[in-house]
């Protein structure tokens, strides 16, 4: 165990202590104790940053967990995981600080739950990004799903919280399972769970028939977690969580786990057309769908949720496009395409900063006014100047306006899209022209919803009568975290290159490892590119955005804008209801509660199974070679037996039926006599006698046989089934006989042994009895135990009857 292992485990250990701190120090807000941890971890992680031009050497530290299965808790720290770990701990610290002021230290507020879940999430997330072993990643991945659901349902008395938690759980865990399947396929291909080893085998994987299934399964996991279309529907419902949770999980960290996975596995799958197209297409669809849906929302957090979906789509599509760089082996050309990867990493950082700030600002508005509905808000600019400033910067950055960091990543996004559309691989030619158009349209909608958020909340007329509280500025403590985040937005916007060498470049090296071997990436981000296409596209975005916003009042009356819920929710809801209803229907159809039906299922299955076995193994055989002579006695007994058996179902009187059954029993005894089995015949006679007495005793108390009316169809079904049973059993007997005496006569009978040894070894001439008490005495012993249990059962059933009202 190294310090980095403890870094991953530290949040879990702290989570163990939190309830005690909560109990012992009721006066102090528990958040203050928790706050120490992410700050420490953040500062600790900073030391790994490469400073002064040197390259980040990846660290690999292994601790065996289940070595026999190749599962090891291996920490792998490179540029990509360092970037994510810094985001997790850094934003984690800010969120904890914010939550101290957001969730008041009240008696009825279960703070210990909140911080335990949050720490669990933080540890799990660190585990996901720092692990090298796929199974360990999967374990932490599911822990994040679990912690996320717990946090969404933090106010579990609200029905919508529970609905959102269930939805996110179902969707992300479905994806998680499919991801596990994908990981297993990777293991099948490479015989290792270690990502490092798998990356080394990337060349073989591409040629494997399991390549496509593994890729699709893993992508399903990544897409569900990162809220890509059409799995994005859980994210807006997850907004029922407390705002610090939304800011942390549902904008900055957890939803980027899918992004992380895609980036991490780009060296494995990237460079192929399938990977390129699937990720790019899903990313662009998500980008457009999210930005268009965000415009329709009336709830501030819902707008931010759809905006997150859209931005995640943007990053995802950039990663998809960037993977094209891996297609080239020659050193020079790839650099043009790797700009997309650079944009992805850069936007990832930017999005975490401004989206975190925006969520916190929305939380402040909610906290101080009591509502998040944009129809009730307005004119808060003068009342909440600091929050307004934070929102203004955050929204401007999100809309992609200079001089903030969003502008830079948007420019790079456009540059990437334009590069890709001129690409000459993967049949981009015709479809490629669509990419810039889609990206541009989505950017316009992004601009529009940013404008809506800003103007509807902070400008316009103040409506104090609609608000639950008297609006005023938030306490200082609540403002610290968003201020730090927007400062980062401005700083990164003004001096983007401070991140270039320390963070972005190492991360790019991790995503595109085999390209960085010769010389490091040249990352240089600057504002002014001259009058190029990207700039004109941005100008177009602003112009059209303003135009649409100006005409928004006209558009808002259309059905498209009035419909707030995502239409895909209907698919999910009816799918879930249909699943429940469908399984109920299947159960009702099958579990009728009628013993008759269950017998039918069992018998039909048995007949079908035996019939199938006959066909499958060609087992149907007849062989009459070793058949004995049939004596006249046997013929007579058999015919009477058949007649007696057939008569039983037609007898309408119970006692008569018992007598008929008795006849069958005595005939069988006679059969034993003819077939020379005196012991059996004696036993059969006596048992039959005792049984008839017993039957008569019991049935004396029963009512007359009821004449039941059955439909002909029911009767015919029963007839067919019983004939089927008879036929199949007869065929089995014939085949067994043929097998024994015919082609497979290797089956030796052991009876010869008993014939020879019954006298010398056991001292008896009655072979049947010797077998019963000597050779196979154990069977007899257990049989008399069975008899004893049966008799005691009868006594218990009859004697120990409970009085009315008594219960077990």
């Amino acid at each position: 165990m190294t310090s980095l292992h403890y870094l991953v485990l530290a949040p879990f250990i702290t989570a163990l202590i939190v309830p005690f701190l909560y109990k012992w120090f009721r006066k102090v807000h528990t958040g203050w104790f928790v706050l120490i941890l992410p700050i420490t971890l953040f500062v600790y992680l900073l030391q790994y940053l490469p400073v002064g031009g040197e390259r980040l050497e990846p660290l690999q530290l292994e601790v065996p967990w289940v070595p026999s299965l190749g599962i090891n808790f291996t920490i792998y720290l490179d540029g990509l995981s360092l970037l994510f770990a810094l985001l997790i701990t850094g934003i984690g610290a800010l969120v904890v600080l914010y939550s101290i002021y957001y969730i008041a230290n009240k008696k009825d507020e279960p703070l210990n739950n909140f911080y335990v879940y949050l720490l669990m999430f933080m540890g799990a997330m660190l585990g996901v990004v720092l692990s090298d072993n796929l199974i360990v990643i999967y374990v932490f991945w599911e822990l994040t799903s679990l912690a996320s659901s717990l946090l969404i349902a933090y106010w579990f008395h609200k029905e919508k919280s529970r609905y959102g938690a269930q939805k996110s759980m179902l969707i992300t865990v479905t994806g998680g399972f499919s991801m596990l399947a994908g990981f297993s396929l990777l293991y099948v291909m490479t015989n290792s769970f270690s990502i490092r080893v798998i990356v080394d085998h990337a060349g073989e994987i591409v040629n494997s028939p399991l390549f496509i299934p593994a890729m699709l399964l893993i992508l399903l996991g990544a897409f569900t977690k990162s809220a890509q279309f059409p799995f994005h529907i859980w994210l807006p419902d997850a907004m029922e969580a407390p705002t610090p949770v939304s800011a942390y999980l549902h904008s900055a960290t957890m939803v980027k786990a899918g992004i992380y996975l895609v980036a991490r596995l780009t060296p494995v799958f990237g460079g192929t057309a399938q990977w390129f197209w699937i990720i790019t297409a899903f990313g662009l669809v998500t980008l457009t769908w999210g930005s268009v849906s965000a415009v329709r929302q009336k709830d501030l957090k819902a707008i931010l949720a759809y905006s997150t979906i859209s931005q995640l789509g943007l990053i995802m599509s950039l990663l998809g496009m960037g993977s094209a760089a891996l297609h080239y082996d020659i050193a020079d050309e790839y650099k043009i395409y790797s700009i997309a990867v650079m944009a992805a990493v850069f936007h990832l950082i930017n999005h975490a900063t401004f989206k975190g700030a925006l969520f916190m600002a929305v939380g402040i508005v909610d906290h101080e006014t009591g509502t998040r509905d944009i129809r009730k808000l307005g004119g808060l600019m003068s009342l909440m100047p600091v929050t307004f400033t934070i929102s203004l910067i955050g929204l401007a950055s999100m809309a992609g306006l200079p001089p903030f960091n969003g502008f830079l990543s948007k420019e790079m996004f456009f540059a990437g899209v334009l590069e890709i559309s001129s690409l000459e691989i993967f049949n981009v030619r015709t479809l490629g022209l669509l990419l810039p158009v889609i990206a541009w349209l989505a950017s316009i909608f992004t601009f529009v919803y940013c404008a809506i958020m800003l103007f509807k909340t902070f400008l316009g007329k103040h409506q104090p009568e609609k608000l639950e509280k008297k609006a005023h500025e938030a306490p200082v403590g609540m403002l610290i975290s968003p201020i730090i985040l927007v400062s980062l937005v401005v700083i990164i916007g003004l001096f983007p290159n401070i991140l270039a060498y320390t963070v972005i470049e190492p991360a790019m090296q991790s995503i595109l490892p085999n390209l960085s071997g010769t010389d490091p990436f040249y990352v240089n981000i600057y504002h002014w590119h001259g009058f190029n296409t990207e700039l004109f596209m941005t100008i177009g975005v602003v112009l059209f955005g303003v135009l649409i916003y100006k005409n928004l009042s006209r558009w808002q009356q259309t059905a498209f804008f009035l419909k707030e819920r995502d239409p895909l929710n209907a698919v999910y809801d009816s799918g879930l209801d249909g699943l429940v209803a469908g399984s109920q229907r299947v159960t009702n159809m099958q579990m009728t509660g009628l013993l008759r039906d269950y017998f039918m299922f069992m018998i039909v299955f048995m007949v079908a199974l035996l019939g199938w076995a006959f066909i499958r193994f060609d087992a149907l055989a007849f062989d009459f070679v070793n058949v004995a002579e049939i004596s006249p006695y046997l013929w007579i007994i058999t015919f009477v037996l058949i007649a007696a058996v057939i008569s039983i179902p037609f007898i309408g009187h119970r006692i008569t039926a018992i007598v008929a059954v008795g006849v069958v029993g005595f005939l069988i005894a006679l059969l034993f006599v003819v077939l020379r089995a005196p012991d059996l015949a004696l036993t059969q006679l006596l048992v039959e006698t005792v049984m008839v007495v017993l039957f008569l005793l019991c049935f004396y108390h029963l009512p007359e046989l009821r004449k039941e009316k059955f439909t002909p169809r029911f009767k015919i079904t029963n007839l067919i089934i019983s004939i089927g049973v008879g036929v199949i059993v007869t065929l089995t007997a014939f085949s067994a006989h043929a097998m024994r005496h015919g082609k497979a006569s290797w089956v030796e009978s052991i009876s010869q042994y008993f014939i020879e040894n019954s006298k010398p070894l056991a001292g008896g001439y009655n072979m049947v009895n010797v077998i019963l008490v000597d050779f196979r005495g154990f069977d007899t012993m257990l049989e008399i135990v069975v008899l004893g249990i049966a008799a005691l059962g009868v006594v218990t059933l009859i004697k120990l009857r409970m009085k009315g009202g008594e219960d077990v």
């Binding site: 005196p678 036993t683 019991c698 056991a762």
Partner: protein, 141 residues
């Protein structure tokens, strides 16, 4: 009107002894001829059942004051006991032994541990058959 079962009672008295004797014969004959614990037990049960059918329950209870559930236990213990016996002799569970002895009056006879085992079977079968039938017959609920 009280029915007089004189004929039945008289015959039952005689027949029961014949059947009981026959059942004991079957039990001892088992090792070398058709018969054995199971058949003997059933035959004894049949004889006693005849008694139960012919006479009323109270009388028979005085004549045969057995607790059949205890007899089941005793029978099982005897059967398991023969098995444990072979364990003490260092053989596998339920190994049976036999030998020939010279008895003054009867001449050479064969004695085997299978016989106590069969006795266990016999007791269990008798008790089970009677216990079941009597319990059901006595039930008046």
């Amino acid at each position: 009107m009280k029915t007089n079962f004189l004929l039945l009672h008289t015959i039952t008295r005689i027949v029961t002894f014949i059947i009981l004797s026959f059942s004991i014969f079957l039990f001892f004959a088992g090792h070398n001829n058709p018969g054995g614990g199971f058949i003997g037990g059933l035959m004894t049960a049949a004889a006693l059942l005849l008694l139960y059918i012919s006479f009323d329950m109270k009388t028979i209870k005085v004549v045969l004051p057995f607790d059949y559930s205890k007899i089941i236990a005793v029978g099982l213990l005897i059967a398991i006991g023969t098995g444990l016996n072979s364990l003490f002799h260092g053989d596998a569970f339920l190994t049976q032994y036999f030998d020939y002895f010279d008895v003054p009056v009867l001449g050479e006879i064969e004695l085997t541990t299978a016989l106590p085992f069969d006795l266990g079977v016999y007791l269990v079968v008798v008790a089970v058959a009677l216990l079941t039938i009597i319990t059901i017959a006595e039930d008046d609920a």
